[in-house]
């Protein structure tokens, strides 16, 4: 299990950084999908089966489709994009920032400036996902529904070509 966790963590970090650094938006979207997939595998390995399913299908699938649709609706020339945003030049310092940040974080951990508590054993039989999701956290479901409806209405409002009412 430990080996899979380390591999997924490394893959997620690498794909995340590539998504941010790559000057092509389409490739960035693909790297982001791979980062999501790595996170999904990490979740599955740690026992969060239901959320890993959502992560892989929604974040890795749907969000990528949204990005690709947005990219296909705006067909700017690749050369022009590079000149306009200068992303290659602007993002060139990111590896330096991350290496410095990583060294600082590892130094802080080595000096025990911050630490994480030991994992508690899972409560026996008490953590049924369906029971918590449908009964204990009903307000969350209501909130999710409102957010989803708001998003749909916002998209309709953004793309309307004439008055709806």
């Amino acid at each position: 299990m430990e080996a899979i966790v380390y591999i997924c963590l490394a893959a997620m970090l690498l794909f995340g950084i590539l998504a941010v650094m790559h000057h092509s938006i389409l490739k960035s979207a693909i790297w982001l999908a791979l980062a999501s997939a790595s996170l999904g595998v990490l979740m599955y390995t740690m026992g969060a089966v239901w959320s890993s399913l959502f992560e892989i299908s929604v974040c890795s699938g749907l969000v990528t489709v949204i990005f690709v649709s947005a990219i296909s609706l705006s067909n700017t020339d690749k050369g022009e994009l590079g000149k306009l945003y200068e992303d290659k030049k602007r993002m060139s310092l990111l590896p330096v920032v991350l290496i410095a940040g990583g060294i600082l974080l590892f130094a802080a951990a080595a000096l025990q400036l911050f630490s994480v508590p030991d994992a508690a054993p899972a409560a026996a039989g008490a953590e049924d996902f369906a029971e918590i999701f449908w009964n204990s956290r009903q307000t969350d479901i209501l909130g999710q529904m409102i957010v989803a409806i708001t998003g749909s209405v916002a998209v309709v409002a953004l793309f309307k070509e004439r008055d709806i009412l």
């Binding site: 299990m1 995340g16 959502f54 990005f67 990111l94 994480v116 899972a122």
Partner: protein
């Protein structure tokens, strides 16, 4: 899972948040900004899962993760819609064009 592995997860997550924030600060492309937000959100999702794992309450953590995923998708959809409209109006997805909007 050992405390060392949890520490690595925490560090990797913080580095991802750093990468996302750097992207937010440095780029002007609307879709790239959404990608930066998404990268930081991946780390937040992982932190919630780690918290659930440490406390032995994975069921509760999963419900929060699903809520975060729903919010993440809606943010991506609305921001992508804004980006497409920005492109239709100005011919580019440069966020600096948003300052020119009136009313």
């Amino acid at each position: 899972m050992t405390a060392q592995t949890e520490m690595f997860m925490l560090t990797a997550g913080l580095l991802m948040i750093m990468a996302g924030c750097y992207c937010l600060i440095r780029t002007y492309h609307m879709l790239k900004i959404i990608i930066g937000i998404e990268v930081a959100m991946k780390a937040v999702t992982m932190f919630i899962m780690l918290a659930g794992y440490i406390n032995g309450r994975m069921g509760l953590a999963q419900t929060f993760i699903i809520t975060v995923i729903v919010i993440e998708v809606v943010v991506a959809v609305v921001a992508a819609g804004l980006a497409v409209n920005l492109y239709r109006k100005y011919g580019s997805m440069d966020v600096r064009n948003l300052r020119k909007l009136r009313g």
